[in-house]
Amino acid sequence: MTGVKRIRLGIRGKIAAVILICMVPVLILGGVLYQSRDQGRLEVVQRSHREAARAIASGVQMFIAGGIEAERTAGAAVTSQPYPVPGIVQLFGAIRARDPLFLSLVLIDPAGGVSAASPPAAAQDVAADPSVTAVQRSKAWAAGAPVRVGRRATLVVSSAIQEGGHLNAIVAGRVNLERLRAILPHAPNPLADGIIVDERGRVIIDLLKPDRAAEAFQEVAGVRQALAGYEASIDGYRDPGSPVRLLGAAVPIPDLGWAAVITEPESSALESARRAATQELTFLLTTVGIGLFLAWVLGAELSAPILALVRGARAIGRGELGTRVALPRNDELGELGDAFNEMSRRLADLVQEMSALQAVSDAALSTVRLDELLPPLVHQVVAALHADEGTIWFVDEQSGGLNVSSSEPPRHLARGQGVAGRVAAEARPVMISDPARLAALDPALAGEGAYAAAGVPLRAGGRVIGVVQVTSRRPREFTPHEMRLLEAFADRVALAVDNASAYEREREIAAIIQQTLLPPERVQLPSVTVAGKYVSSREVGGDFYAVLPLEDARVGLAIADVTGKGIPAATLSARARYLLEAFALEAHRPDTVLTRLNQVLARDADSRFVSLFYGILDARRGRFAFARAGHPPPLLVPAGTATPVALEPPGLLLGVDVAATYVTSEVSVGPGDLLVMFTDGITEARRPDGQQFGEQRVSVLAGACAGALPEDVVERVMGALAAWAGRAPADDQTIVAVRIELADERPVHMHAGRASAD
């Protein structure tokens, strides 16, 4: 724990952060530039002012040149051949009409005399202009001083019309300078003003403020400098009475000696510069924004599949094997997704294979019956191999063929027939992936729609006892890995089969032993009628009961339960049963019989216990003497009553303590009395909710049976018990009902017949 909280950035955040970090210097630079722009801005403004002024200057030059060109053309036209004066006037009039540049146009002879004028009234005014004199003095052209005519600024431009190297004539025209307003280029922005001043600095044309005083710029340093022939900036000029500080530039207009001036209020100039800078900054910020947006999109592009993979990995972690992620992409992440899905699928397969094998191993160790055990195992191996059908064949010992006993109807293959027959005959795995070959070898399988099949032998004790076979309904190969898996499966199935049959054999033997110990279900003696029922549990326990005819018409009655199950319990049962009979014939007291029996059993190395109740009925004397060794107390229901009496003298289980002693109790009995003996398999039989049947229920049932036939008593108790706990007992259940009959002197004999079912 560092105590420093780490900030978690997703991929998107990181990319954005990187781009942001890269942008920082750009932003800082932009900010610095923006801040330092006031200086630069001024330069920009001045530069633009000069350009605008130059444009105006050249516009003026072009304007004058246009006028000169027109004069020369007209002059050449009228002097190249004799031209009548009215024609000249008419021509000049037409020129003026077409081009309002000229307010008047005059043809002057080289001596200065007016040859023709349009309009005629303008003749003297124009002819007297200094520019005419300048041309007479061999100038190619000349412009006079600007003069206001009415509200219009005008100027006389004179051009020499030469022929053969000497002056032939002069064309002079008063030019309307106001026309400049229409043709001059516009100032950089609406607040900027363009001004033309003459060689003395007087305003000739002011594009924005026609009323500006003519002398307004005479003293402006920049203007003076321009008139001196140099471009200059104007900085800080104010119109008289105006607080507005103007910036601007002045450039000379060559040939004319004039200057073109641009002025603009400082605030407007700086504002436009700032606007330009703001545009730059906006552009910069937009670029950064687009960068971040792209980072976000790219991050999403990268992080979405990674998050999908993370979710997939978590799902696998939760045990959802086979989870797939959908990454339909062509890049490395798409490959990662494919690899993930492949891993997930293999993991699921592997776990399925392992659990299939584990299930078989578990089953092999369990004591479940084979016909219950195999179908789910087959199902599992079929799923693990992605096959469609699975069959376990067993070799028929007699015919050497193969059987599937659990299928309906039973299936059979002759020796060597079909895929399974070949596996059994050759005792090795067989795999067929060619449908044609399969159809040839095993038409039955092909007829069921199988396209591929694999089989491995089931081996036990070095012999092939059967075949595990799987088939597929689509063309496929079974890989070497899958064949090994099938073999591993077969090994375990063989083990399970071995265990199960060993267990079945043991169970059968135990059941046979147990059956031999039991008397017939109904025993009829002169003194007693005995009905008994023994229901074995699956594992076969060690219950038995006995009816032993003794001397003097006495009858020994016994019921016992040996701890444990199977053959060990059955053999001890047998031993206890015959020892009991031997001791019963010798000894006359039940406690003596039990004491001797206990001494023998307690000395056994096998430390199993036996609970036993033994009584001797002397019907003629109406006495019943009994002793009990840890057995559930039998119930005596005297004739004519419904209240059973528990016969419960103290006494330890047999086989626990070699020194144990027993007690004989005695009760009077008479004809019609009912004795009910049972084992704890009856009283401890449990309902699904776990509640035991209990002595109390047996007692109530017995009490209700007073006077009934012994077999009916047995039937009623067992019926109630089956309703209570079902018909598959967890422990052996034994019940014996004894009815005491009239005593007589007839010789003793047994009826060895089965009790009727009802």
Binding site: T563, F609, A629, L652, D657, E684
Partner: protein, 118 residues
């Protein structure tokens, strides 16, 4: 059909708490639990069956064997039984005369602490 075993000590007495059902299938685990709890030269062990729902004859055999084994090492085993059905098993089988069966843990600990040495 589950069995849980837990060993703890109280006043020099080892107490084995048995919870669940003891039958043919779980008895081997009880046997192993008893063997471990009663290791040492002179084991004084209380087997607490107060929370046992079901006990069959196999369990009785395991308890009796363990009792004999502990006795041969001058130790003692006391069984704590509170449920009438289980108490009845000890009465019917007569094992209550061989094994010391008490109804509370306090009685079990007292009885074991006064167990004569040697």
């Amino acid at each position: 059909m589950d069995l849980q075993l837990d060993v703890r000590t109280s006043d020099g007495v080892t107490i084995l708490d048995v919870v669940g059902e003891v039958d043919l299938y779980t008895a081997p685990r009880l046997e192993e639990g008893l063997r471990q709890a009663a290791s040492g030269p002179r084991p004084l062990l209380a087997v607490n069956l107060a929370r046992v729902a079901y006990l069959d004859s196999t369990a009785l055999r395991v308890l009796t064997e363990s009792h004999k084994d502990v006795q041969s090492r001058q130790g003692a085993i006391v069984v704590i039984v509170t449920q009438p059905t289980i108490q009845k098993i000890f009465r019917v089988t007569g094992l209550g005369t061989i094994l010391a069966v008490v109804a509370t843990e306090r009685e079990a600990v007292e009885q074991l602490r006064t167990h004569p040495r040697g």
